[in-house]
């Protein structure tokens, strides 16, 4: 079993590194026009949009509960009002923790 786990870890590590390095190497080989550069920015923002919303709302394959998205919403409003970053992050965690303490899932 240990040997299988060791091999599995190695494969995951190598694949992960290959993705990371592959993206970097690929980008540096291709000369992009201003239009495609702009498209790249759009792509990354869309990707992060997906990452923010899934990590706020989804746990496994279902809804993560109300406490987490509520925390992220409070953080979003504070960030939008240009609150210091520390406050934004702490507010997210504290809101979610407080709601859970009150019994909100």
């Amino acid at each position: 079993m240990s040997l299988v786990l060791l091999a599995a870890t190695a494969v995951l590590a190598i694949a992960t590194f290959a993705f990371r390095f592959g993206g970097v190497a690929l980008r540096q080989r291709i000369k992009l026009s201003a239009r495609v550069e702009r498209l790249m920015t759009v792509a990354v923002v869309a990707l992060f949009g997906g990452l923010v919303l899934t990590s706020a709302f989804i746990e496994g394959h279902g809804f993560a509960g109300f406490a987490r998205p509520a925390g992220v919403l409070v953080a979003g409003v504070l960030a939008w009002r240009k609150a210091p970053f520390v406050l934004v992050v702490l507010a997210a965690a504290l809101t979610a923790a407080a709601l859970r303490l009150l019994g909100v899932p």
């Binding site: 299988v4 786990l5 060791l6 091999a7 599995a8 870890t9 494969v11 995951l12 992960t16 590194f17 993705f19 990371r20 390095f21 592959g22 993206g23 970097v24 190497a25 690929l26 980008r27 540096q28 201003a34 239009r35 702009r38 498209l39 920015t41 759009v42 792509a43 990354v44 923002v45 869309a46 990707l47 992060f48 949009g49 997906g50 990452l51 923010v52 919303l53 899934t54 709302f57 989804i58 394959h61 406490a67 987490r68 925390g71 992220v72 953080a75 979003g76 960030a79 939008w80 970053f85 520390v86 934004v88 992050v89 997210a92 965690a93 504290l94 809101t95 979610a96 923790a97 859970r100």
Partner: protein
């Protein structure tokens, strides 16, 4: 030795010039360190060998895929399935690498180590900065800091076993999306980018119940489509400026 001293001087100078940025990054490192502790604790308390979470944190260094990997292995799942799930979750690193290639520059050692340290937070911090120097400082500070904190957290969590198995109690699961959102927000002032982010988020969330983890976020790339009509106009504006 000389190069260590030189590196240290660079770090100190970087800190003095970009104090606020480094402090923001330190906060994220601390939060991720606690999540790393919960990762180690969950792995060991679900009966996996002590070395496994440690090895994953050092070699893979990608939180979401590590959690999915140990969850599948610990529940008696096939290790191949666990690897496949982890690989799917990390596929988004290809477009992320694309986004930070200019930050890493042309030197091979920088590309290799930089790619190794690439995670969502590193990329998000880096692309949120204005100048190339700031992007570089953010990338390397965040990458090295997160690597150290994540691994230290995993080590402590694995040793201490059950002391933090559930970071949800501290609301730390809300910290990750909050950090990414705060870093993304300034670029959302651009209407086309806002539409892309919203559509990407919507596609990802709606497809999440149906598809394996990792795929919905990649599908979020389709959010680009929402920026299409505006493109010509934006380019025109830039040309005028």
């Amino acid at each position: 030795m000389r190069s260590i001293k030189r590196t240290w001087r660079l770090i100190r100078r970087g800190y003095q010039e970009h104090r606020r940025l480094v402090r923001d990054i330190a906060l994220v490192c601390l939060a991720d360190g606690l999540v790393g502790a919960s990762f180690g604790a969950i792995a060991v308390s679900s009966g996996l060998p002590f070395w496994l979470p440690m090895l994953l944190s050092v070699l893979v260094f990608a939180g979401a895929s590590q959690f999915i990997f140990i969850a599948l292995v610990a529940s008696g799942g096939n290790p191949f399935a666990a690897v496949l799930a982890g690989v799917l979750v990390n596929l988004r690193h290809v477009p992320l690498g694309f986004a930070v290639a200019d930050v890493l520059g042309q030197k091979m050692t920088h590309k290799l180590w930089g790619a190794f340290l690439m995670v969502d937070e590193t990329v998000a911090f880096s692309i949120a900065q204005k100048t190339l120097t700031e992007r570089r400082v953010a990338y390397w500070t965040c990458g090295i800091g997160l690597f150290l904190c994540w691994n230290l957290g995993t080590l402590l969590g694995s040793y201490a076993g059950g002391f933090i198995t559930d970071t949800a109690v501290f609301g730390l699961d809300a910290a990750f999306p909050a950090v990414l959102l705060a870093l993304l927000l300034p670029s959302l002032k651009d209407a086309a980018l806002l539409r892309a982010a919203l559509l990407g988020g919507l596609i990802a969330v709606l497809s999440a119940p149906l598809l394996p983890a990792g795929v919905p976020v990649l599908l979020g790339l389709l959010g680009m489509l929402a920026a299409w009509p505006q493109k010509a106009q934006t380019e025109g504006k830039e040309a005028v400026q």
